[in-house]
Each structure stands twice: as structure tokens, then as C-alpha cells.
């Protein structure tokens, strides 16, 4: 059994890490997860599995992680606090570790009003930062919330997200610091389209020495079309797509826009590799996982280190 997180090993060695996102299907089909895993196999060190993203019901993150694990991949178990209370969350953390899953990403999650079950009760028993703290306590002190001892501690590399493009901007770094204090060991950011703002954010993080306390992976989303760029700019909460990117996507004919989206993604990765304090990238190709190998190759991040 794989004892250590592959992502942790790559980052600890000082290599520039690549993670990729895998969205589970809106159905009970395991082959969808397995085939997405096989597409990404060898091109990403670890695979994030989203947890009912945008509050849309999908095959559960834990099961999809187990399927990927069985395929020999290193999954990152994404967990949101929107749908489960502290009893269920801690139970899932133990279950994930028992299944050999070695990475967890703690999030609050998109609000239920955005999804296909807007009448659902939002749980929000605890928030993402409290979840990070809880998982850290479970792992390091073998204790659940309240201090009761576990018979065996879960073994997990603990991650969190941060959005350098949300407001209030100055407070975003303070929030990153709080996540690090709570126990986050790696951070995956919101999709980066505004490199200048990202660079400002990382400078502020470096001023506080956070780049030495936590691994930061920059978020990358290849755009499929100019329409997608406009949609993300206007409709997706917490997303910033500058006018200049939308113009660039519009400047090429529709049948070339995917290529242009890939080019922007590759250029962004190359730029991020030059940014001190960035330890890797997290590629979120939404329902377009098959493009990831090309992006990783063109960004000269292939082959991935063997660890």
C-alpha cells in the first residue's frame, strides 16, 4: 500500500508539482471516473476529486477517490462542509485514510442555492478553517473534536484553497495565514487569469513568510471558448477573468478558440514557474480532462518525477 502522499513527496523534493481536477459523473458509472483517471495518469502527480461542485449532485468524492486509488493514482479527497456535519465529516476523514487516500482538501463549498437542489438545507456546522484544524488534530494528536482519542490516527496531507481574486483583497493574505495557522500544508488557488493580481497576492504572502510554511499551487483553467470566458467573468462567484483575456479569446475564430485557451493556460503555467513562492500548478479542466496531457507537455512539465 502506498504509505505517503505522492503530492507531498513531489513537493518535499522541491519539484514543481502538477495536480489535476477530475469531476465525478452525474450518475453511478465507475468507468467514467476510471477513464478520466487513466487520461490523467502520468501527467499529474495527484488527482483532485471535487465534492458535489457548484452544489450539483454527483457521484461522491470519497467513492471516486477510492476508484482512482485502485487504478494506482494518488487522489486528493475534496471535502466541503456545506453538506455534512462534524460527525459525518470526521467519519469520512477516517474512512478516506482507511481506503489509502493520502490527501485531503478542505473547503466550505459553493452555496446550495447555486446547484440543482436549491431547497436543500445548508449544513455549515463548521467552516473550512475549522475542518483543517480538526483534520490536523485527528492526524497529529489522534483525537477527534472535543479530545476523544482515536484507535488509529488518519494519515493525510492536508490542503486548503484560497482565492486571491476575491474581496477584500488585503484580507485574502490574512486568511491564507489563518489557514496555515489552522494546519494547512498545501494550498490550491482559484483559477488565475489575472497574473498581476496573483503576483501582488503572493508578494504579500511572502512578506509574511507564508511561502516557507505552505506549498502554493496556482490554479489553471483552460478556456474552451470566448463564451466560457465571458460566462466565468460574469456568472461564476469569486472568479476574475480580465477583459484582455476575453478579447484575446474573441480575436480568434470559434474553431480555434480551444487552441487559444490551451495557449493561455500554457503561458500562465510558464509565467507561474518564474514566480518565486509558487510550488506547482493545479489544472482544473472542467469536463475537459483529456486536454491536460497536452497542457502538461507543452508547459514542459512532462514527464512527471518518479517518486
Amino acid at each position: 500500500m502506498n504509505i505517503e502522499s505522492k503530492l507531498k513527496k513531489v513537493l518535499d523534493r522541491g519539484d514543481f508539482a502538477v495536480t489535476a481536477e477530475c469531476g465525478p459523473p452525474k450518475g453511478a458509472d465507475p468507468d467514467v471516473v476510471k477513464s478520466k483517471g487513466q487520461i490523467l495518469n502520468g501527467y499529474a502527480d495527484s488527482i483532485n476529486v471535487t465534492d458535489n461542485q457548484t452544489a450539483v449532485v454527483r457521484l461522491c468524492s470519497l467513492a471516486a477517490c477510492a476508484l482512482l486509488k485502485a487504478e494506482g493514482l494518488d487522489p486528493v479527497f475534496q471535502v466541503v462542509t456545506r453538506d455534512r456535519n462534524r460527525i459525518a465529516l470526521q467519519s469520512d476523514v477516517l474512512g478516506a485514510s482507511a481506503l489509502g487516500i493520502r490527501n485531503i482538501l478542505c473547503l466550505t463549498g459553493d452555496h446550495q442555492s447555486f446547484g440543482n437542489q436549491p431547497q436543500a438545507k445548508g449544513v455549515f456546522d463548521i467552516d473550512s478553517i475549522q475542518l483543517i484544524q480538526t483534520v490536523r488534530q485527528m492526524r497529529d494528536a489522534a483525537q477527534i473534536m472535543g479530545g476523544e482519542a482515536l484507535t488509529k490516527a488518519p494519515h493525510l496531507f492536508i490542503g486548503a484553497v484560497e482565492n486571491p481574486f476575491a474581496d477584500p483583497f488585503k484580507y485574502r493574505v490574512a486568511r491564507l495565514a489563518t489557514k496555515v495557522d489552522a494546519g494547512a500544508e498545501f494550498i490550491q488557488t482559484q483559477c488565475i487569469f489575472n497574473l498581476n493580481r496573483f503576483r501582488k497576492w503572493i508578494e504579500l504572502a511572502k512578506d509574511q513568510g507564508l511561502d516557507n510554511k505552505v506549498y502554493i499551487l496556482g490554479g489553471i483553467t483552460p478556456l474552451k471558448s470566448a463564451r466560457m470566458a465571458e460566462y466565468m467573468a460574469k456568472q461564476v462567484a469569486g472568479m476574475e477573468v480580465p477583459e484582455e483575456i476575453i478579447r484575446r479569446m474573441k480575436s480568434v475564430p470559434a474553431n480555434k478558440q480551444r487552441q487559444e485557451g490551451v495557449r493561455i493556460a500554457v503561458e500562465t503555467i510558464q509565467a507561474l514557474r518564474e514566480v518565486d513562492g509558487v510550488h506547482g500548478v493545479h489544472i482544473m479542466a472542467i469536463e475537459w480532462e483529456e486536454i491536460v496531457p497536452q497542457i502538461v507537455q507543452e508547459a514542459n512539465l512532462f514527464p512527471r518525477p518518479q517518486v
Binding site: R82, R86, T108, G109, D110, H111, S113, F114, G122, F124, D125, I126, D127, S128, I129, Q130, Q133, M145, V161, E162, N163, A166, D167, P168, Y171, A174, R175, T178, D181, A182, Q190, A237, G238
Partner: protein, 222 residues
């Protein structure tokens, strides 16, 4: 105050359809303040019911009555002797009022004419805003008097989330981001340091621990 809104007329009509004698009971406290269940609203609803009955040729007797508080026994007692005369009681009290009246009169059929909404404030004429969830463990002192449980859509104790843009909540663009308000107020007070500490999870047992909550005060017992 506790705020409420009147139910749609058709829903009210359906509830009282099998009955001939209706007592419409208002409440002079919170729901009168938010213009949902006071004397005036009782009058309006009773008139509408009478008019509707007349148009549809139905025989219906509607009596109006408003008491100061439907949630306190001393006021509920004013209904004694009157309430038995009617087939159905249409209460314009909040959920607490409807249940308190029902408990005093075990044989009376009482139905709500209002949807009870929230604990809130009158922001401006015709606008009420929710600002307290009665969690039983007030932490406003840490959050610059802005309640994140109520005013942040995700109830974050360690916010803001990643969806806040231009000081607005991601869920509804007309809602200010509670965490933007908290940070601004703490900044004004020079107390941003309060946010350096990770706020521990809430103790929800104080809100919904063992069924309905109660306050027992020995010094108030007679």
C-alpha cells in the same frame, strides 16, 4: 422583533373552507410592528374573507379580535368565553402565538394566517432585515456586532469565503458581504487583531440541543 408575512389568500381560504364561523385573532406586538398581524391587518383580512364569501355565495361569519400578545397567558385569557363560539380560529400571531393560544384551548381548531419569518430589525419603511438566529451563544463581541451566522450565507466563523466580490455576497447581489462589514468595522475600531485567532466551531447544542429550549428563572417564579 419577530417578523412575519401573511400567507397567500388562497391558502388561508383553503384552510377555513369547511367552516362557517371564523374568529380572526391579531397580535399587537411584533407582528403588528411589521405590519403583518396587528389590528389593521386583521381588519383587512376579515374584510377580504367577507367579500370573497359574498361573491361566492358562501355563508360565513367573520369576527375580528386583536390581543396585545398571543404568546403570554394573561393576554390569551381575553379569548376565554369568545373562542368557543367559533368553528375555527385564524391566528395572525407568529408561530409562538399560534401554539400558545392552542395550548390554552385544547379543543379549539386554530390555524396560522402568517408565515413567521425571522428575528430582525425594521431597516426602513417596508423593509425588514434578519439579523439574529437566536443561537443561544452570542458572539457579536468578536465580530464587530455583525452576526456571521445570520448575515453570511454560509455562516462562516472564519470568513470571508472566496465568493465575495465588490463587497457583495455571492449568493445574492443585493446582500452585503457580512465579512466585508465585519472587517471594515473591526478596522475602524483598530481591532483587526480579533481575526487573528481561529474561531472554534459553534456549540449548536445551545440552539438545538435537546428539542425545544427553555429558560427557567427561579427568581421570576411566584
Amino acid at each position: 422583533m419577530i417578523t412575519a408575512e401573511r400567507k397567500p389568500f388562497t391558502e388561508i381560504k383553503e384552510m377555513i373552507a369547511p367552516y362557517r364561523k371564523v374568529l380572526v385573532v391579531g397580535c399587537g406586538s411584533c407582528v403588528a410592528e411589521c405590519a403583518a398581524g396587528g389590528e389593521k391587518e386583521v381588519g383587512l383580512l376579515a374584510s377580504a374573507l367577507r367579500m370573497d364569501a359574498k361573491i361566492s355565495g358562501k355563508e360565513l361569519e367573520v369576527k375580528e379580535m386583536t390581543i396585545d400578545r398571543q404568546c403570554v397567558y394573561e393576554f390569551i385569557d381575553q379569548l376565554t368565553g369568545v373562542i368557543d363560539e367559533y368553528d375555527i380560529i385564524l391566528s395572525l400571531g407568529c408561530g409562538a402565538g399560534v401554539q400558545a393560544v392552542a395550548e390554552v384551548f385544547p379543543k379549539v381548531h386554530i390555524v396560522p394566517a402568517l408565515n413567521t419569518k425571522f428575528i430582525g430589525e425594521t431597516k426602513e419603511a417596508g423593509l425588514w432585515i434578519e439579523n439574529c438566529r437566536a443561537c443561544g451563544d452570542c458572539k457579536l463581541g468578536f465580530f464587530a456586532a455583525v452576526c456571521p451566522i445570520t448575515r453570511c450565507a454560509k455562516g462562516l466563523f472564519n470568513g470571508p469565503c472566496g465568493g465575495s466580490r465588490t463587497e457583495r455576497c455571492e449568493v445574492a447581489p443585493d446582500v452585503p458581504c457580512a465579512w466585508q462589514l465585519i472587517i471594515t468595522r473591526l478596522n475602524n475600531m483598530g481591532r483587526l487583531d480579533l481575526l487573528r485567532k481561529v474561531q472554534p466551531p459553534a456549540d449548536w447544542s445551545k440552539q438545538q440541543g435537546k428539542g425545544p429550549r427553555k429558560i427557567y428563572r427561579k427568581d421570576q417564579r411566584t
